[in-house]
């Protein structure tokens, strides 16, 4: 019976020939697989980034609104005008606050999902976290405008619960309060936190899931309290996830231009400034210079994170 089967099987066509080709030249397959995405990344993504950078070194003729295509640093100098600096600082503070807010809210949820949720409850968790992402972003933001409005659900609920005093006290805090939640920086913050929360929970949960249960037991075994375990073991090990999540929340907040248009005080954020400068004012150089700001901030942020050892557990 064994004599019937040949030692070398016959080639069955193109698929076998290709398999043989890739087997003899393993790098060829890699090249075939990587070329399209690298082209995409290199030409489309980096290319547009380079074009953006180039634009930021042009300036605009203020009256006609036409771009003067001559190299100048004038546009960057404009960033340091008081009102533009305000925009940058306002955006930075909001992004930081949103990131911290998201992290604080996301951690218990992610921790529960990573440590305790099993089977059905895990599915419920994923569904619960992802569900808000499925509905239109605009619909969510408009819904929040109504929820937060002066004559909206929260005001109504606060009145019903006899908490109007509390709401008014919060709204009277200078800097974050306002006439109503919907027209206050606090409202903008709440909507940002809501919209970007899933982007914090998911990487956090993935990072926490990778922390073996025995690590936590070892910590307790060696005498650590829960708080000590959290500080010295869980947090450092979950840090890459927190950083990944914060990159999302931070950069998404910095780039967003819809939410501050609909909820808040009308004070500009970088995203809104970029949107208006390039879309409605036609000032592409200043828009580009503004757009470079988040990139620079993110680079600095990542460098600090790396120096602080946030990626050591990777």
């Amino acid at each position: 019976m064994t004599t019937q089967t040949p030692a070398i099987l016959p080639e069955r066509g193109l698929a076998d020939r290709l398999t043989a080709l890739f087997w003899r030249h393993p790098r060829l397959l890699l090249a075939v697989l990587l070329t399209p995405p690298l082209l995409w990344l290199g030409v489309v993504y980096l290319g547009s980034l380079a074009a953006l950078l180039l634009q930021s070194f042009y300036s605009i003729d203020e009256f006609s609104g036409l771009v003067k295509q001559e190299f100048t640093l004038k546009t960057y100098a404009e960033l340091f005008r008081a009102q533009n600096l305000d925009i940058i600082i306002r955006t930075l503070v909001m992004s930081a606050a949103v990131t911290i807010g998201c992290a604080v809210i996301a951690f218990p949820i992610a921790y529960y999902a990573a440590r305790f949720a099993k089977g059905k409850w895990k599915a419920v968790f994923y569904l619960g976290v992802m569900l808000p992402l499925w509905s239109s972003y605009l619909v969510k933001v408009y819904a929040w405008k109504l929820i937060l409005a002066k004559e909206g659900i929260i005001t109504w609920a606060a009145e019903g619960a006899g908490l109007s005093m509390v709401l008014n006290a919060i709204l009277s805090i200078p800097g974050i309060g306002g006439n109503s939640l919907s027209t206050s920086p606090l409202g903008t913050f709440l909507v940002f936190v809501y919209v970007w929360l899933p982007y914090m929970i998911l990487p956090m949960q993935a990072a926490l899931e990778r922390v073996p249960a025995s690590m936590l037991e070892a910590s307790a075994d060696l005498g650590a309290s829960r708080a000590q375990t959290f500080r010295t073991v869980i947090l450092p090990l979950a840090m890459p996830g927190v950083i990944a999540g914060s990159i999302f929340t931070f950069s998404l907040t910095m780039g967003d231009y819809i939410i501050p248009q609909i909820v808040g005080t009308s004070a500009r954020f970088i995203g809104l400034a970029v949107y208006q400068l390039q879309g409605t004012a036609g000032n592409i150089p200043l828009a580009a210079a503004f757009a470079v700001v988040p990139i620079v901030i993110m680079v600095i942020y990542l460098m600090i994170a790396k120096r602080k050892g946030a990626f050591d557990a990777l």
Binding site: G65, Q69, N179
Partner: protein, 387 residues
């Protein structure tokens, strides 16, 4: 041509396309239509019966001319300028704060009024208006005009307010509560002109003669007024529908607005009305302008004639709450508008209205004495940011 050539050599492909085409000479005759026409317009300006079947001034034009109309909606004047700078459009319904910028930027071409049979029917006050006529050359055809009215809540204001002070100065309103947090202002730099107009009436010592021509001192006074207004305004409006929502849900009771929002809110049963207070009002007078590189100039000229002679002027003035550029449209029954309707929309207030125009440095006060528009833009961003 040398400037263009230099530019060509120095810059990108985009500039190559736009810079290569020499500025078209004025048209001398209208040939057969090119089959298409693209228009940058304000929302609600170009209706083909899709929003409301009763309002349609496009279908008949397309049938008669064979030019298929496509519309790109813009929300602000700045956006219109940006779109025209980008290119690819034939016409734009530009307001006075955009038109001069388009002319200065060589984005629009001179119009030969002789090729438009109904030109003579245009309101004489508009035929040589400074926001589209430069050096005696016409760069467009008047489309529609209207005032920026003061919209107010009739439950809070038993009597119509007589002054814009309700949105500029803190005060106790008819219902015994402060106006703080209950008024709005327009989220565009041109709102500085509203402040200047208010000062023109209340502080004559500043010597403001036009709200669009402000020297440093006058400009500073206007900004100070707006900084005070910032404390009253919770949120500025730039989107008509968000303002409508704010009047319904956010407790806003007074704001500068357009007849468009007033009409929509009234139609929805909201207790609002509008008025032009004693200080007068700013307003917009829109002009249809033809892009310098338009690919469909014959269709565009056909549209110019259509816009003046058809039901457009009459029905649009009803639809948008504005005034036709052709006064006869109020009375000759070509559309739904009536003489009473035009009066309600402010046809007789023409002299009270100071139309949007782009502030420039060289103004009637002298060369380089007025604050130009780009500073209005950045300073207004500062004011809204609380600076």
């Amino acid at each position: 041509m040398t400037r263009r050539s230099l530019k060509l050599a120095a810059t990108s492909a985009l500039a190559l396309v736009t810079g290569l085409t020499p500025a078209l000479a004025q048209m001398t005759e209208v040939g057969p239509g090119e089959g298409a026409l693209s228009i940058v317009a304000w929302a609600g300006y170009i209706e083909r019966g899709e929003t409301d079947p009763a309002f349609d001034w496009v279908t008949k034009f397309e049938e008669a001319s064979g030019c298929k109309v496509s519309v790109k909606t813009a929300n602000t004047s700045d956006e219109m300028v940006a779109l025209m700078n980008e290119g690819g459009f034939d016409l734009v319904t530009a307001s006075g704060d955009a038109s001069l910028r388009l002319i200065a930027g060589d984005r629009v071409q001179e119009i030969n009024t002789a090729l438009i049979p109904s030109w003579g029917t245009i309101d004489p006050r508009l035929q040589n208006a400074p926001w589209y006529v430069v050096d005696g050359k016409h760069y467009g055809v008047p489309y529609m005009w209207g005032p920026n009215v003061l919209m107010y809540n009739t439950e809070v204001f038993k009597e119509p307010p007589t002054s814009w002070n309700v949105v500029f100065e803190e005060m106790t309103l008819g219902d015994g509560q402060s106006n703080k947090g209950r008024v709005q202002a327009y989220d565009g730099p041109i709102h500085i002109a509203d402040a200047a107009q208010y000062l023109m009436f209340h502080k004559p010592e500043l010597g403001i003669t036009s709200p669009y021509e402000l020297n440093e001192d006058q400009y500073k006074a206007a900004l100070d007024l707006l900084r005070g207004q910032r404390n009253l305004v919770s949120r500025y409006w730039h989107d008509a529908f968000i303002q409508i929502d704010d009047f319904k849900n956010e407790g806003v009771v007074a704001s500068g607005s357009w007849p468009f929002q007033v009409n929509l809110l009234k139609a929805g049963g909201a207790p609002v009305a509008s008025v032009i207070p004693q200080e007068g009002a700013t307003g917009w007078a829109d002009t249809t302008m033809l892009h310098v590189d338009s690919e469909h100039p014959n269709c565009a000229y056909m549209w110019f004639e259509h816009q003046l002679s058809s039901n457009l002027q009459s029905d649009l003035s009803v639809w948008f709450g504005a005034n036709p550029s052709v006064p006869a449209a109020c009375t000759d029954g070509r559309g739904m508008q009536t003489a009473e309707g035009c009066t309600a929309n402010g046809l007789d207030d023409f002299d009270k209205i100071r139309f949007w125009t782009t502030p420039v440095a060289d103004c009637s006060q002298g060369e380089d004495t007025c604050v130009p528009y780009y500073r209005w833009v950045s300073d207004y961003i500062g004011v809204i940011g609380g600076r």
